[in-house]
Symmetry: C2
Subunit: 241 residues, 2 copies
């Protein structure tokens, strides 16, 4: 077989959290991470530093830096004799990730209920309205973005930088699943209903209620996703060998 691995260019916007124009190492990190979480590099594929370096027009050094960081963050799995492969996620990995998210995000909601200032609620309500409008217009492609923005606003209210970072990391790990729920119009409606209730509880500083609502929100999402996978409506990354 010819050496013709092509790494496709940007499909749709991936949330780059730290977009201060960075050095090559960090740029490489974000780009490669995108390719992985989107499945553009299939699970099980070995990472070849020189290949990536060439395809990005830079030297191996910054690529290497990026690859090792991705290894440390769990997106790549080290091989016994050096190098990495793209990690694949089995159903139990996905369940695990949803469950930990349910713990962390519900805790963030708990903190948000206690710590938010009143003015900070309005932007969240606006996101909910916007989401609703997109639903009513059947404009489904906006939903993923609005959903992400809603959650990011929400977590910020927890005032816990560490917690937020952990949540983002977990979300990125299952980035490729993010649209499954919202593609079902019924689930999308249910989701926004949840959001309303969550904001309601937070606004009234009912921390325990908010916590419980978020936990159930995420666990319902988990059940739906797992079911879709089991029914074969969604394919998760398979090892390419």
């Amino acid at each position: 077989m010819e050496k013709q691995e092509i790494y496709p260019k940007r499909l749709d916007p991936f949330p780059i959290r730290s977009l201060k124009k960075e050095n090559l190492g960090n740029q490489a990190f974000e780009q490669i991470k995108q390719m992985i979480v989107r499945g553009e590099i299939p699970a099980g594929k070995r990472i070849i530093e020189s290949e990536l370096a060439e395809s990005m027009g830079i030297s191996r050094t910054p690529v290497r830096e990026a690859v090792h960081k991705l290894g440390a963050e769990g997106f790549l799995k080290p091989l016994p004799k050096g190098g990495y492969v793209v990690r694949g996620l089995g159903i139990s990995d996905i369940e695990e990730t949803f469950e930990i998210r349910s713990i962390l995000e519900s805790f963030a909601a708990f903190l948000a209920a206690n710590r938010h200032r009143h003015e900070e609620i309005l932007p969240l309500e606006e996101k909910i309205e916007e989401f609703q409008r997109s639903l009513d217009n059947n404009d489904l492609k906006e939903l993923a973005r609005l959903n992400t923005e809603f959650h990011e606003l929400l977590y910020a209210l927890s005032r816990s930088q560490r917690l937020i970072k952990m949540i983002y990391n977990l979300r990125d790990e299952i980035y490729f699943l993010r649209k499954i729920i919202l593609n079902s119009i019924d689930m999308a409606r249910l989701s926004n209903k949840d959001h309303r209730e969550i904001i309601n509880a937070i606004e009234k500083r009912q921390a325990k209620t908010a916590e419980m609502l978020v936990r159930d929100h995420i666990l319902r999402g988990k059940e739906f996703v797992i079911n879709e996978i089991r029914k074969g409506n969604v394919s998760i990354n398979h090892h390419s060998f």
Copy 2:
């Protein structure tokens, strides 16, 4: 001032989780991490790659790899114009870390209650007994090790690799605080009493009870530590400038 930064050698054993003899990059990672969490490199000190490289007898490349990973994991804070400084922890960082730990570790206990096999309880009970003997003999220097081993055995029962890794990371971040609680004989006794109750609940598969016990266990630890810091009995890293 002369260039004479000396990085002291190993004081007491730091738990190296992956001690398969690694490449220089990973060795450097572990070594530098130790220096940081033990405060051998003071908070606020800028990391100088060539300095570390020389002191470890290797080139800058593997050191650089290690330093960047430590940056990604939060042990080092990036400087606006390149390079890193050792991050310092304020009281609120410490509170934050304890709180997230309380969430994650209590969840691990919840899972452990549901997922453990019966034979796995005995080793935990033995650790508790050993801890008790050390207490009775006033052999306090063993307590930190036994405590760590107990908790590691416990988390393993959760069968959730991701969760365990997150817990370890958080524990490492406040490694330098680990002895404060156990240095108080009263708190150490209380701690082992907690451990007994926790194992009891887990053995009976009372998941919710175990969860609650662990949460309170950790939050009590937090209160104690914060108080010691406030009273000035313990000094947390200060920026060296």
